[in-house]
Symmetry: C2
Subunit: 396 residues, 2 copies
Amino acid sequence: MAPSTPSAERFSARVAHLQSSAIREILRVVNRADIVSLAGGLPGADLFPVDALARIAAEVLATDGPRALQYAETEGHGGLRARIAERLPAGVPFRGPDEIVVTQGSQQGLDLLAKLFLDPGDEVLVETPAYVGALQVFRFIGAKVTFLPCDAEGARPDALAEALRRRPKLVYLTPTFQNPSGVCWSARRRAEVREVLAGGDTLLVEDDPYRALWYDEEPPAPIVAGMDPARAVYLGSFSKTAVPGLRVAFLCAAAPLVRTAVLAKQATDLHTNTLGQHLLHRFLGDPAFDAHVSGLRRAYAARRDALDASLRERLQGRLEWNRPAGGMFLWARLAGGADAGALLARALEQGVAFVPGGEFHAQGEGRDTLRLNFTHAAPARLAEGVARLARAIDRG
Amino acid sequence: MAPSTPSAERFSARVAHLQSSAIREILRVVNRADIVSLAGGLPGADLFPVDALARIAAEVLATDGPRALQYAETEGHGGLRARIAERLPAGVPFRGPDEIVVTQGSQQGLDLLAKLFLDPGDEVLVETPAYVGALQVFRFIGAKVTFLPCDAEGARPDALAEALRRRPKLVYLTPTFQNPSGVCWSARRRAEVREVLAGGDTLLVEDDPYRALWYDEEPPAPIVAGMDPARAVYLGSFSKTAVPGLRVAFLCAAAPLVRTAVLAKQATDLHTNTLGQHLLHRFLGDPAFDAHVSGLRRAYAARRDALDASLRERLQGRLEWNRPAGGMFLWARLAGGADAGALLARALEQGVAFVPGGEFHAQGEGRDTLRLNFTHAAPARLAEGVARLARAIDRG
């Protein structure tokens, strides 16, 4: 019997807003050994702390196995939340055990916030460009997404002030080594935006997964540092500092908001996987963790430099970019307004993949931009990728 | 600075429907060594396959560590999905790799289905009583929940036929050793309901986490077996057969629905934790898995018998119950319509906890019912719990 398709009228209204990320679609295509992928948002698996986690997994299962494999509290492992609190950047105003909830990746933090704050038609402000995973969540729930104009220091305070007059529900910002732009907002801009936000009642959601990945100097304090705690949410993650496959991240906010988020999480997935939380609890308490993050910084800085040097050697004048000071991505613009989507097709023929920048923008904008990941591949492979990219641009 | 509370008007409309599960609240109270808890829905941690999982974790991390800790496909580990397909009960019409998505517990399967099908005001049919985690999801998204009358064989087909005339979006059923009732629908009733459903266009969501936990004889085939695949969704889980802390479960449906569910999952949490999927992939391919499940059946059958025998010894005439043929719960009713909520307060004084049945019902109903878990505690502890419960009832 050939299955019939469920009739479209049976789906909810929000399914009309459901879009696949072009990135995930590209990743399906480029999972071939002959393609150099600068497309994914993957950390370097060759740098994962596999041995440390294997040792810790053996310890956890030998000493606390039944508890590490049982159902657990929705808000997350108490010891892990305490270690998260100790390691929050200076100034983040959420240190109490009732101000942190462990989430299944930061993506779940966004899903919970969308559920708690967004009715269809509600407005959310984001940067230009913006993280595509956040755009998916906000659009799926039926929110109206407004892109704020940005410059090299961050979102423009005048434009933000103007937009806040409409009392949008949320402003979602990734000011530290953003995906995709790599931009790190200046301390001055953070202070200006903090002040503008203090005048309204829009909730700031600051997403900060890349903070530890700085290669030149430590980034300025988060925007939430010093803000009214009732107007701010801070998202952090272990996907970039430890490993992403455990899906352990956290949401920090004032206790009343966290209590509501915990209820929403209870209805969403009961709790984050227990074993991953136990592993990270011990890893954070182990000297191997800080040593690992220091090593990552050195290795990723070398990869960033390799990508930057190859681009200077091969694509000077045909591509514009800023050498990012941290994070995982280099953001570039094609000279002469060329179309990055059209370039991708030629690039795949040459054996290299990247993400065209259009999907990080409002519909139809940013078509000459592209995102290049530098954390996944080793330096020699990055150089080969750039050589192929140069050939694809030459043939345009 | 004392944090101000975010103003209630800023929350979404759906937050008004957000309720904590009374079960989770009771669990907070009873996490004390001096209380015998018959309240939770916890499997017996003393029976977990800790040694097998420790051995498998060491193997996975030694041979495939980077992949087991990296970001992964939203739809789930391909090898795991193939093993899930092989082990689906006879007749389930979803065997293809594009008909299964791995979820973060079955709770996430329910969250995804709610997102895909339910707009505020849409109707969902459930059994009386119904699984409280499902009620939370459906109510949070603003759906109207209708409780179907049930008897010892399952939901009443005449009432279902009547309700289907209103074209509800979903009918959610847990026909095999239900939480909380323990009821296993007869094969005849399953066939009748299958036939009634064939006449409408309401999607059946069959939740089947307890199937492997039968103690007397294997349960009848699922309701979805033999149905039009476009009208059915089948949810299964490893929380009860392996361990719940890995949060690995699965949703099976026709390929077009699974594709849409994968998009929704992408926006929800990117993917289920990779390490848990790799562990279960190997555990399912290991002879230790089937041996473990057989052992569980024997151990849980002994616990069920211990609870049943203690109740017969101590509470005959003051409590009515059916000895469940599988699953994790014994469902009981207080003689003379006594209130189980009032009893709980006295029971906690005596050092025993259970879940009053009201929250599995429509508002205000089922107040004389209670749910007793028999899988978490060993037989002697169950007997002690019943002795304390008898004292609490005596003092009523």
